[in-house]
């Protein structure tokens, strides 16, 4: 995942880019948040993806047209506004067509506070996933150490079992846990900062 540039830098790139690579980076960064956001509003997978796509396109177009005034609000609230409108349109279409499924939103689309919370949750999820991925692919952390951590987290195994399974001492398991947590925390802090460059 291209997380090496802050959102501010990405936005700059959107402004006068000569190719569509910036788009990809931008879409990879915000697309998953938007999909998760849509799902939590009550959209099905397909609609959520569509709303995300439309939101990204609209955002970039408006941004390039100079409609985004940084002074007037955070990138998040602007993108959120677009996504909310698109999602509302889907719900409206649904109810016009009389489809029973997903006729109403799970949350009040006018409730700014709740929407922001959902957004932040989704954003955190995306960052956590990215951190895990980076830990696996981009750090020199020992394979067994990571495995121990994953068994603790996803396998839900008690430390003793993990130690036995991997042929480690229980102290090693605790050390692994500590080391990986430390590493992840570093990565997450950096990613947060990159996303925060969005303000």
């Amino acid at each position: 995942m291209d997380m090496t540039r802050t959102s501010t830098v990405l936005l700059e790139g959107l402004k006068d880019s000569q190719n569509d690579q910036v788009w990809s980076a931008f879409a990879r960064r915000y697309g998953p948040i938007l999909v998760g956001f849509g799902r939590r509003l009550g959209l099905n997978e397909t609609d959520a993806a569509e709303v995300a796509q439309e939101t990204l396109v609209r955002f970039v177009e408006e941004y390039r047209a100079g409609k985004y005034d940084r002074e007037r609000g955070r990138l998040r609230s602007w993108m959120l506004t677009i996504a909310r409108t698109r999602a509302a349109a889907v719900f409206r279409q649904r109810s016009v067509r009389g489809e029973r499924e997903g006729v109403t939103a799970l949350v009040n689309l006018g409730d700014e506070h709740t929407l922001t919370q959902i957004w932040q949750t989704e954003r955190r999820q995306v960052i956590l996933r990215a951190a895990l991925e980076e830990l696996r692919s981009a750090t020199k952390t020992n394979e067994k150490t990571i495995e121990a951590f994953e068994l603790l987290v996803h396998g839900g195994c008690p430390p003793g079992v993990v130690a036995e399974q991997l042929g480690m001492s229980i102290e090693d398991v605790y050390r692994a846990k500590s080391r990986v947590s430390q590493k992840l925390r570093e990565i997450i802090t950096r990613l947060e900062a990159e996303y925060d460059g969005e303000s």
Binding site: L14, S17, Q18, N19, D20, V22, W23, S24, A27, R28, G31, P32, V35, G36, A49, A52, Q53, E54, L56, V57, R58, F59, V60, E61, R64, R124, Q125, L128, R129, L132, L152, V153, H154, G156, P159, I170, E171, Y174, R175, K177, S178, S181, Q182, L184, R185
Partner: protein, 827 residues
Amino acid sequence: MPGDETITTAHLEMIASGVLVDKVILERVAADPTLSAELEQIRRDNELMSEFVSLDPHTPDHEFDPITGYELLEEIHRGGQGIVQRARQRSADRMVAIKTLLQGAFASDSQRHRFEREVRLIARLNHPSIVTVHESGRTPMGSHYIVMELVDGVPVDQYCEPLRHAGDLRGIVRVFTAITEAVRYAHQRGVIHRDLKPGNILVSASGQPHILDFGIARAFGNDTQAEPLATKTGEFVGTLSFASPEQIASDPDLVDVRSDVYALGVLLYQALTGERPIDVTGALAEVIARIATEPPAAPSSHNAAIDTDLDTITLTALEKRVTDRYQTAGELHRDLENWLQGRAISARAHDFWYVARKTLRRHRVPVGIGAVFLVLVIGFSITTGILSFNLQRENKTLNGTVRGLGGALRAIDSETTPTPVRDLNQFLSQLVENIQSEVGDRSDVESAVREAAGIAYLDAPSSNYAEADFQLNRAYVLRLQSLTAPHPDLAASLHNLGRLRFKQRRFTEAETYYRQALAMREALFGKEHADVAWTMHHLAFTLQIQGRRDEALPFWTEALRIRRAVLNPGDINIANTLSGLATNHLARGDSASAAAVLRAALDIIHDDPDYGPDSLPVGRVKHNLGVAFDNLGAFGDSEQVLQDVVRIKNLSEPGSMQLARSHIALARTLLHLRRFDDAARELQLALAIQENLEIPINREPDAAILLAQIGLAQGDKDAANSQIDSVIDALAYADSPDPGSVGEAQSIRALIVAADGDINGAIEIAVAADAWFASVRTDRDPRVLENLKRLGDWYTQQQRSAEAAEIDARIEAASRPLAMPTEKHQP
């Protein structure tokens, strides 16, 4: 647990997870800063871990496409304009090709608009041999893209190579008939390719060609073409081989459908011979000079299997002068078809002996009786003697003959009779070729022959104005040298030059010639003379077509008066002038007078033994009568008359634009009668004729405009909208669209916009429509009036009362009975 035991990480972990709750140990940890810190760290680690535990392991795996709805796959081609990629259309699950243009491809907004309009036009092309454009738009990053049908094929030159090696020329020509047919189809719809080259024509394994990038070159267009060639040498060399002389000349105004014909000629030449017609290697300046001047070697010099006809077809497409080339892709197409069928090709139609030989061969006539048959072929009972006689010896006979022919031609006024004079035309061109050498010392004979030939060129179904211009002027100059004005022959020359200029649509020059001819004839014959009325009739028509309706009227009435005075009451020429006068009444919005005059004309033609009730002039006169009835609101009468017109024209001039116009007029009446399906059927018939005649909708847009109107009347707003859009786009593309048509299209567009609830938008468009109308139609014209009435209603609706009052005043004035115009122009 003992109080002095070492506290390990394991203990701390257990404390953090709430398993170990021993008070002593907890107190010891609390008392020890290091242990406390470690415990705190463990707790934070656990918190982070719990976040991961609750993390939805399912990573949303969506691709976010720069082009919504399409998954971009591998690159197919990267060129100067942009990138072509294979892509999957998600909704239809089909493979397509997407061309993304480089950013900054357009220097200006107007270029971008032109591109967008172009793409809309292309998207409406629907032909098996033209790559379908599905849609177009801009990526969020601002690049333009075009989504097209994905074609599996090889460039046409590669496809033809094995055919050539196998000696299968027919196979090659067959592919080119399909290609030329497709190009003809696009030209018909106002789209010129401008960059035909092998890479733009892919042929699939089944032999089906697919032409890519129609019209795209124009979009990047004129601005770059006007650049000096040297600045883009590197890029240009690739397509230089296919550029016509007029494209090389960097004059974008000269580039039209015939430039595509040239490129097709180059492609055909290359396919047949494996060589290029012009060597494009070497210094650019030399190459350009070669393209402009060097005639290509006959294809047969490279490939002996090529016959003379195929040579001629290829070289005709490659003529340097656009006027010498096939004038349309359709002509080239038909000749390729002719060649395949073994018929005579039109490119050699001027070659009398060629046509005769070819006809004889096709009909397998024994050569022995060929000489007699030839005479039948040309359709005139001239003895074989005339074709071969010695001009020097028999010039006296010739003079008489030619005068006779010229007289015969003059009698056939092409405005009322399309009698085929094509074969005589060919005969005369042969005669004229010999005339200079044979009768150089007899300017009276030469001028008579040239005059007759000029008229033949002018009135032949496939008229050749350049040739007519040359011959008529030559005749005139010869007469000026030998005669003194006023002289009947000089007057005739002036009159015919007027007719030529009229047909060339150079109306002010035509007017001057006619006025000179009229003055001379009046000086020679006085007022009461048939020839005076004749020229007057033409002058009236010339004034009228320039929109000078009121000036024209006195000439019409005077011509009519003279003809009635000097001719028999049943003379067809009286009917002709009556008919002209009626068009003047119609143009001034006086449909009632028009109807009366047309009835009088019809009476004469009906009784004429040469014409009769089902003759061509009856069809044309009745057409106007039907239109007049429609204008007067007598739709029942109008329908009856126009149905009859369609029947007559199907007999007298089937397949003509004249017939198409009657279908259109009938459709208009049916629309007024709210019989939409019947009206639509008439329009389809009209469009089919138009298509067949290769008359693009931007030249004759009435049928398309009416279709939109019918769509709207039937409540299909979207269909109406896209229909009217296509008309307006096509008109915008035309060099000088008919203002009346643009006005009509805009007027319908306003109606659609209003139906959408946008009244202010509708007002704006209706005002624009009114401005277009102003130059060519009066407020009495029903279409102008309809537009005005709607505009007035909308103003009222928007409470813009001052403007509404202005419109009302105009409507009121247009409804008042018509006074005769002042007589100050009375001739």
